[in-house]
C-alpha cells in the first residue's frame, strides 16, 4: 500500500492555521510522539486517526499546552508559539471540547458559556447582557434553547453543543473535538455534524477525533494517521477508502505465522449438539448492539475488531461484569442471567480483563493469594483452601506456566507484565472453567510469554475448554481461532470458520466494509 508512507506531497491549499513540525514528546521509558508533523487548514474538518496509544491524545495535549513538547515547533496563524499551559493555547485561539463534557450542570446555559468572562455592570454580573451574548452564540449553533435554563435539563448532545458554544465565544480559530460523538445517538450526531459543517463554512479549523470510521468519512475533509507515536501520513478523505485507512492505522505486518497445531472440533457442529453457550440478542445501550453467538466445547473463538468496536463490551456482558439490557444467555441449554461476575463464575465462565492492572492484579498480595483468589471467593471465607491443596496448586501452576520468580510469596506488584498475566491465567484455570474469555491476554508482554500463552490456549482447547480470544493482533487471532467473529462500531458484523481463505487482509476488508462483503460467506448464523 503506497499510502502508508510519510512522503505524500501535501495537496496544495491555503496557509495552515496550525502547523506542528517535528514534534517529539517522551515520558519516562516511552517515546509517546516521535518527529510528528501535523497541520490544520482553516475551513476544514481534519480527522486525527489511530488506535489507542497511537499518540492522538498526546498530540492534542501538545497543541493545547497540557504537555510541553520536547522537540519541534508549533506555529499558529504564522506566529511561533511555545505553549506551557492550556491558557496559552486558548489565548492563541485554540479551543478544546473534551470527550467528557466538563461543564457545570447546576449553572445556566449562559453561565456555562461565559464562565470566567461574564459581562459586568456596576460591579455585578449583568445577567441580561450575558443571556443576550449567549443567545447570539446559540443562534450561530442553530440551537433554540433558553440561555437562562439550567444546563442539567438538557441532553448530553445539547451539553456538548453548549461546550462548543463556549469555545466559539472565545472566538476560536481552531476547535478541537475529542471523541465528541461517543455518547450521542444517531440524531444527535447528525445535529453535531450540521453545526460542524456550518463552522467549517465560517472558516473555523476543526480537529476531530473519533473511533467511528463511518463518521470520520462522513464529516472530515482530510485525515492524519498516527501509529505508535509516529506519523503514518496525511490523506484527503475523498481519495481514501476505509480499507486504506484501517491498514494505515493498524500497520500491516503480513509475515505469515504458522497456525498453531490445534485440533479444531471437526467440521461444522452438528445441528443436534447443544452449544456450551448460546447467546441471543445480547445488548446494552451505548456499549453493544444485539449480538448472537454460539460457542461449542473445545472451540476457540477469535474476536477481531478495532479498539472500541465492542469486543471488550461483549466479553464483559458474557461474564456479568456489566449487565445486559436485553438478550439471553443459555449455558448448555438452560437459561442463565448473569448479574454479577460471581454468577458467571458459578456457571464455569472465566474472564481475564484487558485492563490487567485495574481489573486483574491485586498488587499487594502474593502470587499465591492472587492465584487462589477466585477459588477462595467461590468457597466463601469460612472455608479456607487447605494449606496442602494451596501449596500443591500454586507450585503446579508456577511450574506449568513458567512463572518467574517461582516464589509463591513474592508480591504481585514486583512481577513483570507477562508473569502477572500468567498468574491471572492460573487464577482462572484453577477454577476449571468450561469457557475462558481472554481479553487482550498478550498485550504489553514480551514475546516469550506471549508465545507461551498462545500455546497454552491451544492446549486448553485441545483438552475441551472453550476459549473466547480477543486481540488487536489479527495474526494472533487467526493463528489460534477455529472461528473468527468480527466486530465494528459496537456490533458483530461477521462470524465465520477460520479456514485457509480467512486472511488478515480479508478481515481488514470486512472491518472496513462494515461486513457487507463477507456477509454472504458467513458459514453459520
Amino acid at each position: 500500500m503506497t499510502q502508508v508512507t510519510t512522503s505524500i506531497p501535501p495537496p496544495a491549499v491555503g496557509t495552515p492555521v496550525v502547523e506542528m513540525r517535528g514534534i517529539s514528546i517522551s515520558f519516562p521509558g516511552v517515546k509517546a510522539l516521535a518527529d510528528v508533523d501535523f497541520r490544520l487548514l482553516p475551513g476544514e474538518v481534519h480527522a486525527l486517526m489511530g488506535e489507542n496509544g497511537a499518540g492522538k491524545s498526546t498530540l492534542i495535549k501538545a497543541l493545547t499546552g497540557v504537555y510541553t513538547i520536547d522537540e519541534g515547533t508549533v506555529t499558529v496563524a504564522g506566529t511561533d508559539h511555545r505553549f506551557t499551559s492550556p491558557a496559552d493555547s486558548q489565548a492563541a485561539g485554540i479551543s478544546t471540547v473534551y470527550q467528557e463534557v466538563n461543564l457545570c450542570t447546576n449553572l445556566t446555559v449562559a453561565e456555562n458559556m461565559l464562565l470566567g468572562r461574564e459581562p459586568h455592570r456596576f460591579g455585578r454580573i449583568d445577567v441580561k447582557a450575558m443571556n443576550r451574548r449567549a443567545r447570539s452564540v446559540l443562534d450561530r449553533l442553530g440551537l433554540s434553547i433558553d440561555p437562562g435554563s439550567s444546563l442539567g435539563e438538557h441532553s448530553i448532545a445539547i451539553q456538548q453543543l453548549v461546550a462548543i458554544g463556549r469555545a466559539l465565544d472565545i472566538d476560536a480559530r481552531v476547535l478541537i473535538l475529542d471523541e465528541p460523538t461517543s455518547s450521542l445517538d444517531a440524531d444527535e450526531v447528525a445535529k453535531l455534524f450540521a453545526v460542524m459543517s456550518d463552522l467549517r463554512d465560517q472558516g473555523v479549523a476543526i480537529l476531530f477525533v473519533s473511533h467511528f470510521l463511518d463518521q470520520v468519512f462522513e464529516i472530515s475533509d482530510r485525515m492524519t494517521v498516527l501509529r505508535n507515536g509516529k506519523l503514518v501520513g496525511e490523506y484527503l478523505t475523498r481519495d481514501t477508502t476505509q480499507l486504506t485507512l484501517v491498514e494505515a492505522m493498524i500497520g500491516r505486518e503480513l509475515e505469515t505465522l504458522d497456525r498453531l497445531e490445534h485440533q479444531a472440533p471437526t467440521a461444522a457442529p452438528d445441528e443436534a449438539r447443544v452449544p456450551l453457550l448460546q447467546v441471543l440478542g445480547l445488548s446494552r445501550k451505548g456499549s453493544l448492539q444485539a449480538v448472537d453467538l454460539e460457542i461449542y466445547d473445545g472451540e476457540v473463538i477469535g474476536v477481531a475488531g478495532l479498539l472500541g468496536s465492542g469486543r471488550t463490551e461483549l466479553a464483559r456482558l458474557l461474564f456479568g461484569a456489566d449487565t445486559a439490557d436485553a438478550g439471553t444467555i443459555d449455558v448448555r441449554g438452560s437459561r442463565r442471567r448473569f448479574r454479577t461476575p460471581r454468577s458467571a463464575i458459578g456457571a464455569k465462565i472465566a474472564f481475564s480483563s484487558e485492563n490487567r492492572r485495574a481489573e486483574g492484579v491485586v498488587e499487594d498480595l502474593t502470587i499465591a493469594d492472587n492465584m487462589l483468589l477466585t477459588l477462595q471467593a467461590a468457597r466463601g471465607w469460612l472455608r479456607p483452601v487447605p494449606q496442602r491443596t494451596r501449596d500443591r496448586l500454586v507450585e503446579e501452576y508456577i511450574k506449568a506456566l513458567d512463572i518467574r520468580p517461582p516464589d509463591p510469596a513474592a508480591l504481585m506488584r514486583n512481577l513483570s507484565g507477562g508473569n502477572q498475566q500468567k498468574v491471572l491465567l492460573a487464577r482462572w484455570l484453577i477454577t476449571q472453567p468450561e469457557l475462558l474469555i481472554l481479553d487482550e491476554p498478550t498485550r504489553g508482554i514480551d514475546i516469550g510469554a506471549k508465545t507461551q500463552i498462545q500455546q497454552l490456549v491451544a492446549k486448553l482447547a485441545d483438552e475441551g475448554m472453550s476459549v473466547v480470544f480477543i486481540s488487536t493482533e489479527l495474526e494472533e487471532v487467526l493463528r489460534l481461532s477455529d472461528r473468527v467473529v468480527v466486530m465494528r462500531d459496537r456490533a458483530k458484523i461477521a462470524d465465520r470458520f477460520n479456514d485457509e481463505s480467512v486472511t488478515v487482509a480479508g478481515i481488514l476488508a470486512t472491518i472496513a466494509a462494515g461486513g457487507a462483503e463477507l456477509k454472504e460467506e458467513d458459514s453459520d448464523a
Binding site: 461474564f319 474472564f351 480483563s353 485495574a358 486483574g360 477462595q376 471465607w381 472455608r383 483452601v385
Partner: protein, 340 residues
C-alpha cells in the same frame, strides 16, 4: 536486622518502648506491678485497662480501614450502647440483678449491630463515601443517645454491670481480658480463615476483586457491623467503669484515637494490608502517651499539642518516603544492600 527495620511494626514497637523507658526514668515505680487483695495494680495495668476501649474500637476500625473505609461513628455508637444498657437497667424491675445485666448487654450489643448494619448499608449498597456515611451517625448518634437517656446522666448501681469495666478475674481487670479475647478471636478469624485475605483484596483493588468473584459488598458490609459491635462493647466498658451513661461525653473523640492507633500500627489509610498486632501496639502507645503527659509534667494546656507532635514523629518514622529520604544520604552501596 534490616528486614526487621523495614517492617512498620518495628517502629511503633520501638516508639512504645521508648515511651515506657521515658516514664520509667521519670517515675522509677512505673514498671512495678503489685498484688493487692488478689488484684494486680500498677501503671502498666492501668494503661492496659484504660486502653481496652480504644483497643476494641481500633480492632474494628482496622478492618474497616483495610477495605478503604473509615468509621467516624464509633464514639457515638459507644455512647448509645452505654445509654441503652444503663437506661434498661435503671428502668427494670430488678436493677441490681445479674440477669438484668445480661439482657441489658444483649440489648445494647443488638442495637449496635443494627447501627453497624445501617453504616454498612450506606457504604456498600448506596456507595456513599464512608467518611460521609458514618458522619451521619457520628452526629445523629449522640442525639439518639441523648434521647435514650432523656438528656440526663443515667447512673446505675449494679455489681454485675460494674464487673465489665472495673472488675477483676484471676487478678486481671476484666476489661483487659475482654479486649484481648476480642483481639484473639479477630486475629483467628482474619488469619485462620480466608476473611483477612479477602478483606485485603477488596481494599487493594475492589474492581479486580469483584471480577474475581469476591463478594465485595458483603465483606464491606460485614466489617462495618463488626466495627459497630466492637464500639458497642467498648461503650459498655466505659459506662460500666463510671456506672453511668453520659450521652455527651462517653467515647468522645475515641474514633480519632482508634484511627491513630490503626495508623501507628502500620495499616495504611489507603486500605489493603492490615496488621492487628500493629493496632494492638498502636492502641497501647496512645494510652501510654495519655498517661505519660501528666507524669512528665507537661501542663494540661499543652496536652493536645504534645500528643500531636509525638504522633507526627511516629508517623514520619514509618513513612517509607521519609525513610528513603534519610537513606539516600548514605552511600549508594547501603541502599542496594537494603533493597536486596
Amino acid at each position: 536486622m534490616r528486614e526487621l527495620v523495614r517492617r512498620p511494626l518495628f517502629w511503633s514497637t520501638l516508639a512504645l518502648l521508648l515511651l515506657i523507658a521515658l516514664n520509667t526514668a521519670v517515675t522509677p515505680s512505673f514498671l512495678s506491678v503489685r498484688l493487692q487483695d488478689g488484684h494486680l495494680y500498677g501503671s502498666l495495668i492501668d494503661i492496659l485497662r484504660n486502653g481496652a476501649p480504644v483497643l476494641l474500637v481500633a480492632l474494628g476500625m482496622t478492618l474497616v480501614i483495610a477495605t478503604r473505609g473509615i468509621d467516624l461513628s464509633v464514639g457515638a455508637v459507644a455512647a448509645i450502647a452505654g445509654a441503652v444498657a444503663c437506661v434498661y437497667i435503671a428502668g427494670s424491675d430488678r436493677p441490681a440483678a445479674t440477669s438484668t445485666v445480661v439482657s441489658a448487654v444483649a440489648l445494647a450489643v443488638g442495637v449496635c449491630i443494627l447501627l453497624g448494619l445501617w453504616n454498612g448499608f450506606l457504604v456498600s449498597v448506596f456507595g456513599i463515601q464512608p467518611i460521609i456515611a458514618t458522619l451521619v451517625l457520628m452526629t445523629a448518634g449522640r442525639g439518639l443517645a441523648m434521647l435514650i437517656t432523656d438528656g440526663q446522666i443515667t447512673t446505675v448501681v449494679n455489681p454485675a454491670f460494674k464487673v465489665l469495666g472495673a472488675g477483676f478475674v484471676a487478678t486481671l481487670p476484666v476489661a483487659i481480658l475482654i479486649a484481648l479475647a476480642v483481639f484473639a478471636v479477630t486475629a483467628v478469624l482474619a488469619r485462620r480463615t480466608a476473611l483477612g485475605m479477602l478483606i485485603e483484596s477488596v481494599g487493594i483493588n475492589p474492581e479486580a476483586s469483584r471480577l474475581a468473584g469476591v463478594r465485595a459488598r458483603t465483606i464491606t458490609w460485614t466489617v462495618y457491623v463488626f466495627c459497630a459491635f466492637c464500639a458497642g462493647v467498648a461503650g459498655l466498658m466505659i459506662a460500666s467503669n463510671t456506672s453511668a451513661a453520659d450521652a455527651n461525653n462517653a467515647g468522645l473523640w475515641i474514633e480519632l484515637d482508634a484511627i491513630l492507633a490503626v495508623v501507628i500500627g502500620g495499616t495504611s489509610l489507603a486500605g489493603g494490608k492490615f496488621s492487628l498486632l500493629g493496632t494492638l501496639v498502636g492502641a497501647m502507645f496512645i494510652q501510654t502517651l495519655a498517661t505519660t503527659i501528666p507524669t512528665i509534667g507537661i501542663p494540661a494546656e499543652a496536652n493536645y499539642l504534645f500528643k500531636a507532635v509525638v504522633v507526627i514523629a511516629v508517623c514520619l518514622l514509618q513513612s517509607p518516603r521519609v525513610r528513603a529520604a534519610f537513606r539516600s544520604r548514605r552511600p549508594v552501596s547501603t541502599v542496594k544492600a537494603g533493597a536486596a
